[in-house]
Symmetry: C3
Subunit: 139 residues, 3 copies
Amino acid sequence: MPRLAIRTGSKVEFQDITPRVQELVTLSGVKSGVCCIFVPHTTAAVTVNEHADPSVVRDVAQRLDYLVPQRGDYCHLEGNAPAHIKASLVGSSETLLIDGGRLLLGTWQGIFFCEFDGPRSRTVLIKIMPDRPGDKPLS
Amino acid sequence: MPRLAIRTGSKVEFQDITPRVQELVTLSGVKSGVCCIFVPHTTAAVTVNEHADPSVVRDVAQRLDYLVPQRGDYCHLEGNAPAHIKASLVGSSETLLIDGGRLLLGTWQGIFFCEFDGPRSRTVLIKIMPDRPGDKPLS
Amino acid sequence: MPRLAIRTGSKVEFQDITPRVQELVTLSGVKSGVCCIFVPHTTAAVTVNEHADPSVVRDVAQRLDYLVPQRGDYCHLEGNAPAHIKASLVGSSETLLIDGGRLLLGTWQGIFFCEFDGPRSRTVLIKIMPDRPGDKPLS
């Protein structure tokens, strides 16, 4: 099972992992299928958004901070309740499509690992599922 | 790779694409598997919600407008930062199940393309993955 | 098509379905692949979050109540507009990975059925897709 090791450097951080995921797709030899991305953490998530202008994901992160503020009347006592809530709002899995050996992303789209309780060492799991019998699955 | 061409007519619009996705499932000949829907845009999304009463998705759209208002202190200078933020909240992919050649949707469920920065010409990518060797993948 | 029957006991409730989903994976005999979870309801959802401390999902539920309050200026007249809106924010599908016959979840992660308009009888659909030709699909 391919996985990406990720090191985040701040409390909240959106890290562009697009080239690393594409590299795994290329290595897999799968030409047509889907690429499932799964974040095995409860205070992080994965999203697809614009990666041409870095201010876009800064806006996403800041609006999430506003909607789920760090200080609040939370039950969970470890101080990271907002990170857990953001994880459920953004989601821990994303399914991308593969065609011609390439991730099918729009012109401006990139895949972002979303750190909500860093800095930490994190992992992202990648599953590449071929739809053609001839292709070999990467696992 | 099957895709839907979509034309949206206003800034924010939830367009019911259920019959069009089902048509592609039928054309594919796949009886059992999954149907992955992917939106290759950074200011649009896909969601599943009630399509019997159109006021439901109007409420979803209006609450998103309230949570992520058009005017705000955003970094991204193109004026569509809220559309990007909504895209990450709703999500750019959805995985549906297929059985007996039909999308497995609940009684009230429909699939909606969510426009957050229209009007525009848009595309939705559809990947139909069979789980039975005999079924042919549509790609 | 395997499905889980769920009985919720209150208006809003996050029910941990991890052991039940793992049981279906085990029964399927699939060693490597993906497990797609789909909620065929428009006022419920599925999410992955911490299940070690039950206060985490209580915080998620309470923040959603705050962001989408029960009383508000909604168009949908059945009184459950907030439940529909929460369903689109959290999402009706989640794709998990399987390796060695086990769901690949992080140490603290569990799968939660999210009830937003209970108490009700609900269903969760599970699709287990093998990536190896030798594995048999469960359907």
